[in-house]
Subunit: 165 residues, 3 copies
Amino acid sequence: MAEDTATIGQRLILSDLQARNAAAIDDDRLEEWPGFFTEDCHYRITNHQDFSAGLRHGIIFADSRAMLEDRVAAIRGANIFEAQRYRHILNPPVISSAGNGWVAAVTGFAVIRTMQDGKSELFVSGEYRDRVMFDIAGGADQGVFAERVVVLDSQRIDTLLAIPL
Amino acid sequence: MAEDTATIGQRLILSDLQARNAAAIDDDRLEEWPGFFTEDCHYRITNHQDFSAGLRHGIIFADSRAMLEDRVAAIRGANIFEAQRYRHILNPPVISSAGNGWVAAVTGFAVIRTMQDGKSELFVSGEYRDRVMFDIAGGADQGVFAERVVVLDSQRIDTLLAIPL
Amino acid sequence: MAEDTATIGQRLILSDLQARNAAAIDDDRLEEWPGFFTEDCHYRITNHQDFSAGLRHGIIFADSRAMLEDRVAAIRGANIFEAQRYRHILNPPVISSAGNGWVAAVTGFAVIRTMQDGKSELFVSGEYRDRVMFDIAGGADQGVFAERVVVLDSQRIDTLLAIPL
């Protein structure tokens, strides 16, 4: 842990934020999802190949919390995704850098998808590249995503990808 | 972490309890499994659909540690399960509430099953809904399950489900 | 946690070491991999059946950091493994024993493999049986593997197994 200055408390807040975010998605509480991000957040889903090439586009791309809220509304409006459930599996985060009130971390993950007929399968794997702010001003012992880049291991993405990862 | 009062130490004890419990099952030390529970524990395995509907039945249902011990004896007596090995994969727990000497948490998990012929597959995924007591009186720095409800993502359960999850 | 004397800090250093090691492999920074081990380390990959029988051989076997470096050089020289990516998924470690400046732990894991055509699959599962030294003399808040035995759940191993686990 020499490369950073994250405290034990900050590590646990980070891991807790990631786990609560995953639980909200997996439990279909999508309306809570934008609340895990700052107002001017950056969120996108890309793949390893494009990310390594420095490309900034994404399968999903948002530059504000409002865009995340729009996305949730669109999913609810379309109403076609009830048939599937997600289950996020999360690694311990690896802190890449840290400063006063923030940490950057890379966190491996996988998602299992269960269809309505009961069939479960490995859906995607990849890593979260997060920048998390700690809400010190608010006095709350919580973090929030300022940036979350979801880098998938495979460039072959299911075209039905619609629920946030 | 604002919604609860669990300390860093309690979080680690919880996560450690879950990991040791999983390791005992995966290592076929089933006789140790009931010892992770209180004498008057509640344990059941159900699925998301039934759990959401408020149904209290389960594929496996136990209302005491003695019933868990009976289950282990039955598995050993039947002696038909040597052919498979489990591998639990655990998320960080999400604390839902906490009090004096206890926490309640929801924890995502998946289980990989390896058959005797060497074939491995994703077996089930779901979440543990745990209530854990901390053994303060005993002076031990350990937790024990007072309640563990295993909610599977899929309602299509393998009929051979016999080893505890 | 009564069976050991590992502190909260040591647990986090251990988990962090495991996560950074996995990230280096998954990100194809194989040259960093030997640096996670002591000079006179023991590393091997075996399976549950052979491990339980007390056999000391391995699919991969190394008795020093230099042998790990040789292995990386061989992989780079062969240059045939670019086609696949690994994604390690790690459990919380279970401490089995601890002493002055070291811990021994058993940690469940799974690896997902993504081929160049984009197909992802569960590759292997198993447990790490680690002995980790804490670098107290160096003043660094880091751990290093003195021993890592990778015990796979299945004895049917992919013959292409070449990247370290």
